[in-house]
Symmetry: D2
């Protein structure tokens, strides 16, 4: 069919499989090949989602002239390499966040994308969540007037394995990076300055690995708005994902999503269900929606919803937060961007 | 002071003390004497609320020319007697619900009130609760269009003592009578027909005493609306007092009131507080407001907010519900009113 | 693949397409042919969901030996004919509700199913909704003790076209039939007696067509519980689908589902989103879940979750409600079942 | 009566009248005299609340040997003077917040109180609000484990008059001072360091007067917890007063209080009432409760619930926040306390 899009998937781990499932539900796109450094992962993914070919070497996909676009779900340290190779092969690219943990690599990758004229969408899936999307649209429409304050409450149900913590880039670049993207998306303005506080309150081994598990970051925006993000690696009651934007005409806030909407009343109190446990449950629909948006952007030849620049700025913010925490002072994003 | 109202209180039990406290908060009225068949009750009430005189015989109040109005809080079987005696003494009357358990007594009392030209307010305090008042006003204003359906959920936290059950007139005249008043108040129309189901599901001794502890009554209104009331004598989670009116433009409903507005999230779920335990907690403000309204009606010489007729109709409804339950058929209120 | 189930779909209207989409998401089942009295419907459905064959005559499916099961989504008056023909062809059957509008046809169909030893599941999809399923399980687990009271609030956003009203069997058999199923499912006991009130409050042409648009039905259960269902054909704020079960230890209730969980605060008040608009939005997930359950029941050779008897009883209840309304008296289900 | 407490009230403005009304509801205390620099204020207050004497000169109260305690509700700049004079007159003291806008005055006042051995309670009334009290107790009980994060959302419905802004001490010492008290009360630990961001987003004349109208302050506590306070002088939807404490076992948060608990559903959405408009409505009960606590502390001879030290620390925090804002850097409280 003329308007069937052919995709290649690099990386068949957890998030790769999420995208494979999403794509299997989209009638006008299909994955023609999957590659993973562990071949058995690629083979299992191929079997589970009806993908015709499984490879160990991603070149098999990059060299396949029938493939229109590459979905990059490999480990972070390989992202820019695959972005560059895919771009040079003339393929559109969907790449998981973060693009990279340093700006030099990111800038090299984005320059190549620019030069090759392919589309790039970064995997900030939360923009496609119905709660956050609704707030974004309400703010944009002026429902709350000029934004004055924003709050992001973002807490994981449990810390990742220590092995992951060590290569993750740290809380600011691994976890809060989503929230850095979210504040830009919801307020509709850029952050100019931030101040970070962080601590190890949950697990000392996270501290020994050089990271923090709890953080509060204050933000100042170019349009005068202020706000803060708070992160914890361990909310016993589940994945806590809320936001509020307050402005000159009012406020809009979102609460968590739950598996069902019931209230159970007994002598002990009135009980409601916990939030959906973690990102795979909470953001399931958003993963499908972001992939649909990527495919639509290609087929309709319009800019992607989350550009390379949108992928770069949260990294700048994460680096600024790290610097702020180390030097115990507010940091302007311009310091980082200029570095 | 010219506009200080002098009140006499008959009955110094639980509800009498509630009204004594309410009146103590109203600057332009005061109780000058309290009477109770148990003198020590009257004396304690007088001491606690700074009432100058305590009596055993209510005649002391009825004969006191300085008293403007009588508040009748004695046992139900004495209500009509005191209404009649107070009316004949030219005093305005506030009387607790129900006026009586039979229509003949009620009609005698109301005729006397009419003849003597005094004001009478019946103690349907829930009309003064902020939730129910707001629904009443919203419906009246047309916020939900023409009313089509009404629901009253009314559940006590625990059954009354058996000794009380035996003299109470039964669930329909003791407990649901408030809800019979409420449906008229909220819908703004009269009930024409009802059908009652009842059962003993909580305590068999209630059944042995000839009463029920759980009931569902369907209602048909003169304006075409329909609805139902459900009662239980025992909600383990506390006093459940909710209503909803649905109409051609929308719906309005109330939820319970709680001692505080907090949510507590743990691995076990998200917990909110139980409803306020029982009527003294839940309707505290409404008792003060109804007494203020009574005093205002006298001082401004306007009709009372809950008239003798408003006191009579719920008794008709309670009798109709009893007949419906016994004969297992729908009953028109006209059957009872005509009896 | 040995455990791939082959299905034939009869009826490619709105609900047929809902099931076609659900099945397209289930990896171990596929539709091999679709039939519709309007061939173009069948062809469009085949094209949209990748179904290999489209027919006008359903015999093409019934005679196809490769087909394991038939999904009956045709008009109600053809349900029993296709159930019987499919059963006699040795095929398992999923059939939309109601099985038929009269018991004689239902009993003939169920007897055939019984005789032929095939599986039958009736399309009471709401049992698979996460809210109602959670209440069902909580009640079954004893979370609220013995059930005493049940309430079902069920309101459509807008009445169906008059042409549909005329052939629908009326509000009790078309709309409230879902709620009749729900009360059995949630309370875990059978209804013994009911009393129906009904009126035309929304659209007089519905009354001229011999139907009602608003109804309240009181219920008495075999286990002593009582309850009621209320229906309206027009809730301006959207599809209102709530339930509450109250028992000796507490209560559990569900609220509506919404497209997002946000609150918008302005000088005019605090606004939350309306309920999801209608059944396709509200019960989307439940349609997929019921189809999964049907396929699982076949593949694991266990009884279906909604049996022929489960399909018959709500029709008995609907007929009893109609009789109650006409004769203005409570009706025992035994009267109908025995008729 | 032996246990009747006699009080003198200095300052008959808005907050003075609030306390006069509270005391009129407390049976074991009464105000014997009121003084105000505007005699007519004192006289009106005396008339309205049945206070026997009205004065212009507060010495009349300080010299009255029958007076047990003084309630200081005059303008902030007179607080320490009256504390000192009352203490030297051997009278217990209730004083509105803040004690003063500088530490030297505060320390002089507290030293005098200490030396004279009288009791002092500072008017941080929010500690007596049922929401915040419940959170405080839950945290203390360990319901959420060790506190990790706290959030205070505190927004006024409208800015005060500019004349008030100019003498108020600024947002940090006038408005956020309540929140500085609240974080200590809720977390149960002292703040060690804070970082303040502030802006003029609502009314430029506030900026011209040298103040800000919007602020975000990050906090670091001695026990490792972190958090933030956000203030706005103008929330169009009313007085927004919420808090959340998150810890190792869970979280507890409070929502706003409203005049009634109803939901109104129409085609436009589901509407709930705005928060209670401002502090007089929202914190009415807390004012009564704090006054009861003060009187109980005297009569039972126990320490007051909000000590002089509790009054001093929020001023330190306010001064630290001002310094942080001016110097754009985090400030340790020790810097201020040592100054």
């Amino acid at each position: 069919m003329a308007n069937q899009l052919s995709l290649g998937l690099i990386g068949a781990g957890r998030i790769g499989r999420v995208h494979a499932e999403s794509i299997s539900r989209i009638s006008h796109a299909h994955i023609v090949g999957v590659a993973d450094v562990f071949l058995e992962n690629a083979e299992k993914c191929a079997a589970d989602f009806g993908i015709p070919a499984a490879h160990q070497d991603p070149r098999a996909l990059l060299d396949d002239p029938t493939i229109d676009a590459i979905v990059v779900c490999s480990s972070t340290d390989t992202h820019t390499r695959f972005i560059i190779e895919a771009a040079e092969a003339g393929k559109h690219i969907f790449c998981e966040k973060p693009i990279a943990l340093n700006l030099a690599d990111i800038d090299r990758a984005l320059a190549t994308v620019e030069r090759c004229g392919v589309k790039l969408q970064i995997g900030f899936n939360r923009r496609f969540d119905s709660n956050f999307r609704h707030i974004h649209e309400a703010v944009k429409r002026g429902d709350i007037g000029d934004p004055h304050l924003i709050r992001i409450t973002s807490r994981d149900p449990a810390p990742p394995p220590l092995s992951y913590v060590k290569v993750s880039g740290g809380l600011f670049l691994d976890m809060m990076i989503h929230d850095f993207d979210m504040v830009r998306y919801l307020v509709g303005a850029e952050v100019e300055e931030l101040y970070a506080m962080g601590a190890v309150l949950i697990d000392p081994t996270i501290g020994e690995a050089g990271d923090i598990d709890t953080a509060v970051v204050s933000l100042k925006f170019a349009n005068g708005a202020m706000g803060f993000i708070e992160n914890s690696r361990q909310a016993r009651y589940g994945y806590d994902q809320r936001a509020e934007v307050f402005g000159s005409k009012g406020a809009i806030e979102s609460s968590n999503k739950t598996a069902h909407n019931t209230r159970w009343s007994t002598a002990n109190g009135v009980m409601e269900p916990n939030p959906l446990y973690f990102f795979l449950e909470r953001y399931l629909d958003s993963y499908t929606a972001e992939m649909r948006a990527f495919i639509d952007a290609i087929q309709q030849n319009v800019p992607t919803a989350v550009t390379g620049r949108d992928g770069r700025i949260p990294v700048v913010m994460g680096l600024a937060a790290g610097l702020s925490l180390r030097e115990r002072r507010p940091v302007c994003l311009a310091e980082i961007a200029a570095a």
